[in-house]
């Protein structure tokens, strides 16, 4: 069904889509122009090391993350160990922890002057660092451990779902054909879950690649820190864009790996008959190992850091609970709130456009808008800066030629830039939310409302908007939360002296004073918990529905 829309709807959709797509275009264009002196210099000296570090980080986080997540996912899907109902969502919580907060806390615990090494020295009688070898946490290895600890839930969630969808009879068949339990895990369970596992690994890889805070705190130079240094240190946008484009290449590689792995997903995840789910009975040491493993992840990834944050909060409450905190909270609230409202407006506009125009062409704007989500924060920031500085320069040049006083950096130095960047990065979330709730509205409702006398705009107002209100609100909330937590793009784009909760917490982490920013850090953690609770509720409903079938 195809409805007539006023011309401005179509024009607006395409305009918005192109506007939100300019950062990607800018990066591609910038990557194609010949390299400048600085980039050549970096390329000859440090860049290869940075690339190697980034690749090692991605691979390390993937490998360690898989080792953490897959056993936990299997236990949650296939056994009924005590406390499973709580554990299966507790295991997701580390995702709410900003990586740099955890990095700081573990550095504090594990460094030479920290409680762990002091205890070690007290027990053994060693006196100085020369007496014993203790791994240095501020290293590539340390960064891998920290990132794996907060990113493993991606893989956990996806592989748990994949394991749950597997039919028990396939495992039984393999056992009857002579596999031991471990063999059938490696020959049946794992290969069948491969598409989901690779998707999870790709997501973790993208997050690890885009991570700035942890590697910066640990002084591990990667492509991300290189982008940051070339722009904020050398002020060289072109070189920063070149490095960003290299990161974009890695992102594209990860996305295509993920797409490739899913090409035959239907084949792997064919849901044959819903039989009663039978659990593997774990007993003795196996049960304790499984329990210990899951609780270890939850403790290290969430409980321990949260407790330490609460401890910081209580001990330093009088100094950290101050007007600064409210100022930054207000800043965060304002920028993220505006981004959320704008993103939802765009999502509604484009979502409705593609529903009402049922041709393939009309689906493009929403897809263009959604590409921003795949960009690492700092890459996006550079992509946003290129067109904005260009337009600032053009405006000022024009003013000078017309003998007017130049206005300075109206775009690239303002809060608008920040909001724009958040919108580019997170609109995909709102678009997805609107699309999925519009998808649940039966097309016959459109036809019914038209035959009952509604023109297309009335139909949107009287039928679509009331019916997708929940999805729209969820989108609003998610964009808001993601924007609140965003750090790398904010660091690059914020106006001078403008701090959000995230940049403030990171600043305190860098200054080795997280104790004094505990309230802000806790707010970030709590805000991050909201989408996880929402996700968990929707997963539970889904599983309930499957059981009812």
């Amino acid at each position: 069904m195809n409805h007539h829309l006023p011309w401005y709807w179509r024009a607006g959709s395409w305009l918005l889509a192109l506007l939100l797509f300019t950062p990607v275009i800018s990066l591609v264009v910038e990557a194609l122009v010949p390299a400048g002196e600085l980039f050549d210099h970096l390329w000859r000296t440090v860049l290869p090391t940075y690339i190697i570090n980034s690749v090692l980080l991605i691979l390390g986080v993937g490998l360690l993350g898989a080792m953490l997540a897959i056993p936990a996912a299997w236990v949650m899907a296939n056994t009924d160990i005590p406390g499973k109902a709580q554990l299966q969502w507790l295991l997701v919580l580390p995702l709410a922890m900003p990586s740099y907060v955890i990095a700081y806390i573990y550095t504090d615990l594990l460094e030479f002057a920290g409680p762990v090494q002091r205890l070690l020295r007290a027990i053994t009688g060693w006196e100085s660092a020369a007496d014993y070898a203790f791994p240095e946490i501020r290293s590539l290895g340390g960064a891998i451990i920290i990132l794996a600890l907060v990113l493993y839930p991606y893989l956990y969630l996806l592989s748990r779902t994949a394991f749950l969808e597997q039919s028990r009879s396939q495992i039984l068949a393999s056992r009857l054909l002579g596999c031991s339990p471990l063999q059938s895990f490696f020959r049946i369970t794992l290969p069948m879950a491969r598409p989901a596992i690779i998707t999870g690994l790709a997501l973790m890889g993208m997050e690890a690649l885009g991570d700035f805070a942890t590697v910066s705190y640990f002084s591990v130079p990667t492509l991300t820190t290189a982008v940051y240094d070339t722009w904020l240190g050398y002020g060289n946008l072109s070189a920063a864009a070149k490095i960003s484009a290299m990161m974009l290449l890695v992102v594209m590689l990860l996305i295509s790996t993920e797409k490739y792995s899913r090409r035959r997903q239907q084949l792997y995840q064919k849901n044959t008959g819903q039989e009663q789910r039978e659990f593997v009975q774990l007993s003795g040491w196996r049960k304790w190992l499984a329990l210990g493993w899951c609780w270890l992840l939850v403790t290290l990834g969430f409980l321990l850091p949260s407790l330490i944050l609460v401890d910081y909060l209580i001990t330093h409450f009088s100094t950290s609970w101050n007007s600064e905190l409210f100022e930054y909270s207000l800043n965060s609230l304002m920028v993220s709130g505006s981004a959320a409202v704008v993103a939802c407006f765009i999502a509604l506009f484009l979502g409705v456009y593609q529903r009402l125009k049922s041709n393939t062409l009309a689906k493009i704007p929403a897809r263009l808008v959604s590409t921003g989500y795949a960009l690492p924060g700092n890459v996006l920031a550079i992509g946003v800066l290129i067109p904005l500085t260009l337009s600032d320069n053009v405006i000022n040049e024009l003013l000078i030629t017309w003998n007017q006083a130049p206005v300075g950096l109206i775009f690239s130095g303002s809060v608008i830039t920040l909001v724009f960047a958040y919108v580019v990065r997170f609109s995909a979330v709102a678009v997805g939310s609107v699309e999925s709730s519009l998808g649940k509205v039966s097309p016959s409702l459109d036809m019914a409302s038209r035959t009952l006398g509604c023109n297309p705009q009335e139909m949107v107002r009287r039928i679509h908007i009331p019916l997708i209100r929940k999805g729209l609100l969820a989108g609003l909330l998610l964009v808001f939360i993601e924007s609140m937590k965003e750090l790398p793009a904010t660091l690059l784009l914020r106006p001078f002296n403008f701090e959000t909760l995230a940049t403030r917490v990171f600043q305190y982490v860098s200054d080795e004073q997280l104790e004094y920013a505990a309230p802000a850090a806790l707010v970030l953690v709590l805000v991050g918990l909201v989408p996880l609770i929402m996700l968990n509720r929707s997963l539970e409903r889904q599983e309930l529905r499957q059981e009812q079938k």
């Binding site: 069904m1 016959s444 036809m447 019914a448 038209r450 035959t451 009952l452 009331p466 019916l467």
Partner: protein, 371 residues
């Protein structure tokens, strides 16, 4: 007066706009030159196999898709032609959907009142109450659609579509989601409502029984056009071609030649016609016979019979018994179906005959020669 008149309507898959450069030959046509007219107060059933374009036709009438060419007129006023296309909201058409399409966020009252924007609130209230009474849902106006049974939802859909006094009501497989036990009852009830409101109805289904029970006129669709339009009895007994004959129900075909004005020769011997036959002797034709006309009799002396007919399957159908019979004779072997009241022994040799009736004869291309 003619409520709806469709002339030479052409619709294509994926046609998003009326094509000026008529490129329709290159695309898959769903409707290719369809003609149909409905009188005021008449209920017409569009009968056809799935995918034959029934729903497309309804959507074109409602203005929900754009035809490639042809005209659609409602009470003499063209709403779709080369001159332009009226948007659906200005056509004054009611439509009932397979899933009822009730608005889940509105109460029964608000659903029914949805299209009554032009009336004052007092008028709206009065009209909705009338409608609730009409469909027998008085007192349920505050409920939401999900709080109603399937049949009740169906009635709300009817009330909503009729509230605006549409000139034509379109019904797209409206009974397919209703339990078979209540379906018969609901079909009768809704037919009475339409008759009482004197609204012209166009009803789409793939179920013959529903069509027979609901409609005054049946229109059989196939190959993108209306193949035959008439009463159910006419179409069943005098189908215009083999396709329609088979679509309307099981039948037997036997080679036949006309012997004289009242007789044809078939492998079963001579068959009498109650109506005078045309004069094309010696042409090889096909006789189409519905199962009840095939009579089965036990053979007293099998050696004397020139037919070798055996019952190889029997199925009890309630009112009758369906027999599958294989026939061996000089002209070849045939499979026949008969419906009769008394059971026969399985595998028994039987003698077949065809009762004299208004015969139906097709030519070699399956077109009606006589009937």
């Amino acid at each position: 007066m003619i409520a709806l008149k469709i002339t030479e309507l052409v619709c294509a898959y994926g046609s998003t706009s009326r094509q000026k450069d008529n490129t329709s030959q290159n695309r898959d046509l769903v409707l290719s030159g369809l003609n149909l007219s409905i009188k005021d107060g008449e209920i017409v059933c569009l009968l056809g196999s799935s995918g034959c374009g029934k729903s497309t036709l309804l959507k074109a009438i409602a203005g929900l898709i754009q035809p490639v060419s042809g005209t659609i007129a409602l009470h003499g006023k063209e709403v779709s032609s080369d001159a332009g296309v009226t948007p659906p909201e200005q056509r004054g058409i009611g439509m009932i959907f397979q899933d009822y399409a009730l608005f889940p966020h509105l109460t029964v009252f608000d659903n029914i009142a949805f299209g009554l924007g032009k009336l004052t609130s007092v008028q709206v209230k009065k009209r909705v109450q009338e409608m609730l009474e009409l469909v027998n849902l008085y007192g349920l106006e505050k409920r939401y659609p999900h709080e109603l049974s399937g049949g009740q939802q169906q009635r709300v859909a009817i009330a909503r579509a009729l509230a605006n006094k549409p000139s034509v009501l379109l019904l797209d497989e409206p009974f397919s989601n209703i339990d078979s036990q209540v379906r018969q009852h609901l079909v009768r009830e809704i037919r009475e409502i339409l008759k009482q409101q004197k609204v012209a109805g166009l009803f789409v289904t793939h179920s013959k029984e529903e069509g027979f029970a609901f409609a005054d006129i049946i229109a059989v669709m196939g190959q993108g056009r209306i193949m035959q339009q008439g009463t159910a009895f006419d179409i069943y007994h005098h189908p215009h071609n083999r396709f329609i004959a088979d679509f309307m129900g099981t039948g037997n075909t036997l080679p036949a030649t006309i012997v004289d004005r009242h007789t044809v020769r078939t492998p079963l011997g001579l068959v009498q016609s109650t109506q005078p036959l045309p004069d094309n002797k010696n042409e090889s034709l096909e006789l189409f016979v519905r199962p009840p006309m095939v009579k089965v009799a036990a053979v007293n002396n099998p050696h004397r019979s020139y037919q070798q007919a055996h019952v190889h399957k029997q199925q009890f159908m309630g009112k009758s018994i369906r027999c599958e019979i294989s026939l061996e004779c000089d002209q070849g072997s045939y499979q026949l179906v008969s419906e009769q009241t008394n059971p026969v022994m399985d595998g028994a040799s039987v003698e077949l005959s065809i009762e004299p009736h208004h015969l139906v004869l097709f030519d070699a291309d399956g077109q009606l020669v006589f009937g």
